[in-house]
């Protein structure tokens, strides 16, 4: 539009220049013609005033000279005096200079050619000359000669100047055309802005329109940035609370000891908490955005995740994944469940829980139940068999009946001990294992111990020695529990020492503590198991132990008892050479 306006202005300007030039030329021509007409008129009147007296005086030759001079001076192409009857009285034109002479026939004036009187190239004038006898007519004709500037040269010059101006205008227009278009585009954009258009893309103009367009685009860009900034701040204000909640949730997820991984429908990890990274042995930064299959090697778990991600599985799937020993072993329980929410791209959440310790505890419990059942069944079976035999023999065989009663008594005590151990274990587990403190006479305690195990040692062909100092200090503690601990230590020593070996109970004492060493020449304990044997339900992995009954509670109970008295039990052992259990217990410790 601006371009067409520019062209119209140029055309109007050009036409104005041309019109002005033409008007100037025509008006100058008319001016020149009028001036010439006035001069002809003036010359005619002067000639009439001069001719009339000369004709009146009959001096026609003077008239002839006058016209001749007037023609020459006035540059007339015709200057003649014609009578009423068309007779040529006198003519100023040199070839036609004539005068009426007596005796000669009258000369006739040549008529003026038709059209000459209206020809603009000539100025014609006619004046009446009156004498006493006749009336005549003075005819003057002069060619119009325009000044040089009013002729074709001037027209050409004006045309050239107009053309030059037009070319200059075109050049200027060409130079300004792009910028004018830019201004036009900016005008369009402003009108669009007024109509409510807010898109920066719609308001921007082409950068090739020049600096004005570039400045406009920068203005629009800054406006857009400002708009976005304002919108961002408003959004931030609006969503501030929601963002805080999300951040809190992220912190909360990181505090979970269960691993949590969110996976989208393309199996890409969208989120993983710290525990998940540990369980999958990966870095969180590396997990987010990567495929979950890079970190999950278990085929069943992979399949479950794929199923939920693809939407074919819509229920929770639980998979227990055993880790290789090289990776630290253990059991991970993975829950794979779908997440279908419109405002999230995640479609699967995998919760990973380390259940290794639970599995180990379950196995230990099962093992204990099996072992305890076996331990309880053996004495119960013996008791039932010997009771039946005692009933059968009746009074007929008193010796056999006495033997039966002896076995029943022994098995009952064994049963009582096993049940006691189990109760103690449950008390320890429940935290209710308490000591009943009283004065303990150690001499009596060790003497009872000797009596209790003498028969067993003799039966197995093991030498049982007691090395006691001459005097033992008085001690305060739970006699039954200390007896239980010592029973377990000596009983184990006898149990795991082969025939022909020896077991030595060596006691050293000072006023503050008693140190009891139980030294055997038994099968010994591997270095890896020297601490494990104090765990509840633990039994050594040595094949030779399998054939020996036991619950795996004795040493655990013994250490617990001694620790409750403020002491401790330690062990030094060498496979196939024997073991030394050292029990240190304070004499005056306040019982726990």
């Amino acid at each position: 539009m601006v371009a067409s306006t520019g062209l119209a202005v140029a055309a109007i300007l050009l036409m104005a220049i041309a019109g002005g030039g033409a008007w100037t030329i025509l008006s100058q021509r008319q001016l020149a013609r009028d001036e010439l007409s006035a001069r002809v008129e003036s010359a005619g009147r002067l000639l009439v005033a001069s001719v009339e007296p000369l004709l009146g005086a009959g001096n026609e030759s003077a008239v002839k000279m006058l016209l001749l001079n007037a023609t020459k001076e006035g540059e007339f192409r015709r200057c003649r005096l014609v009578g009423e009857d068309g007779e040529l009285v006198a003519d100023g034109a040199p070839p036609k200079v004539a005068v009426r002479t007596k005796g000669s026939g009258p000369a006739r004036a040549e008529p003026i050619p038709p059209g000459e009187l209206s020809d603009p190239r000539y100025i014609n004038a006619s004046f009446e000359v009156v004498t006493r006898s006749e009336k005549m007519k003075l005819e003057l004709s002069r060619e119009v000669v325009y000044p040089r500037w009013a002729g074709w040269e001037a027209q050409t010059g004006l045309g050239a100047a107009g053309a030059a101006g037009f070319i200059a205008l075109l050049l200027v227009y060409r130079r300004l055309k792009r910028r004018l278009r830019g201004v036009g585009a900016i005008g369009e954009a402003l009108r669009a802005l007024q109509r409510g258009e807010s898109s920066a893309a719609a308001l921007e103009v082409s950068g090739r329109f020049g600096p004005e367009a570039a400045a406009w685009n920068q203005l629009i860009s800054e406006r857009e940035q400002l708009r976005k900034q304002v919108a961002g701040e408003r959004a931030k204000e609006t969503l501030g609370t929601r963002g805080d909640v999300k951040a809190d949730l992220a912190y909360a997820c990181d505090a979970l000891w269960q691993g949590m991984v969110m996976v989208d429908d393309r199996l890409m990890v969208r989120y993983a908490n710290g525990a998940a990274a540990i369980f999958l042995r990966a870095k969180r930064e590396a997990m987010v955005g990567a495929s979950i299959e890079e970190f999950v090697k278990d085929p069943a778990l992979r399949e479950a995740i794929r199923g939920v991600a693809s939407g074919t599985v819509r229920h929770r799937t639980t998979i227990e994944m055993k880790r290789a020993e090289a990776e630290g072993g253990g059991v991970l329980r993975c829950n794979v469940r779908p997440v279908r929410k419109e405002d999230t791209t995640a479609s699967v959440v995998v919760m990973i829980e380390d259940v290794t310790q639970q599995r180990v505890a379950d196995e230990a419990r099962n093992s204990f139940v099996a072992q305890a059942t076996h331990e309880l069944r053996t004495p119960l079976t013996n008791i039932r068999l010997y009771v039946e035999q005692a009933i059968e023999v009746g009074d007929s065989d008193p010796a056999m009946r006495a033997k039966c009663l002896d076995v029943i008594n022994s098995e009952s005590r064994r049963l009582e001990r096993i049940v006691g151990d189990m109760l103690s274990v449950s008390e320890i587990e429940a935290g209710s294992f308490k000591l009943r403190a009283s004065d303990v006479r150690l001499e009596t305690l060790f003497e009872d111990l000797r009596v209790d195990f003498a028969a067993t040692a003799k039966e197995k062909g093991i030498e049982l020695r007691f090395e006691l100092p001459p005097k033992l200090p008085p001690m305060r503690g739970d006699r039954d529990k200390i007896t239980l601990a010592l029973h377990n230590l000596v009983g184990n020593a006898l149990k795991y020492t082969p025939e022909g070996g020896s077991v030595t109970v060596k006691v050293e004492a000072d006023p503050s503590s008693v140190v009891v060493e139980v030294i055997d020449t038994g099968i010994g304990i591997s270095a890896e198991e020297t601490e494990l044997i104090f765990e509840k339900f633990y039994r050594a992995k040595d094949k030779r132990v399998d054939g020996i009954t036991g619950t795996g509670l004795g040493l655990a109970l013994a250490r617990e008892v001694v620790r409750l008295h403020g002491g401790d039990i330690s062990v030094r052992s060498e496979l196939n050479k024997g073991s030394t259990f050292t029990m240190t217990i304070p004499t005056m410790a306040e019982a726990a």
Partner: protein, 111 residues
């Protein structure tokens, strides 16, 4: 510094012997980090044989606790003597670690 490592069930127990000071503390940190990584964080530090802790030792305990926390777990200490416990209280590190009276209690906490 001597370390005694044993496994109770599925829990790794590491027992440093001696004061947790200077370079020994760094050595302990390395061993504890390796142990925690190997058993997925099922780690108990038996501090019953640690007589005292210096600033480097405290720093190591704080670092270990921070690392464990990032995995949703916490550093479990057991058997620490009164001196060590008091230092942990004074430096406000006690709130960053779980403390148990003995190893078994600490191990049971994983159940």
């Amino acid at each position: 510094m001597e370390f005694l490592e044993q496994t109770k069930g599925a829990v790794r127990v590491i027992k440093p012997r001696g004061p947790l000071v200077g370079p020994d503390a760094d050595q302990f940190k390395k061993r504890a980090t390796e142990a925690a990584s190997a058993c997925l964080g099922r780690l108990v530090v038996d501090a019953s044989a640690v007589a005292y802790v210096d600033s480097r030792g405290l720093e190591v305990i704080a670092d270990l606790s921070e690392e464990m926390t990032q995995g949703g777990m916490s550093l479990k200490l057991c058997g620490a003597n009164e001196t060590v416990r008091e230092v942990l209280e004074l430096t406000e590190l006690a709130g960053m670690v779980e403390h148990y009276s003995d190893v078994n209690s600490a191990v049971r906490s994983f159940l």
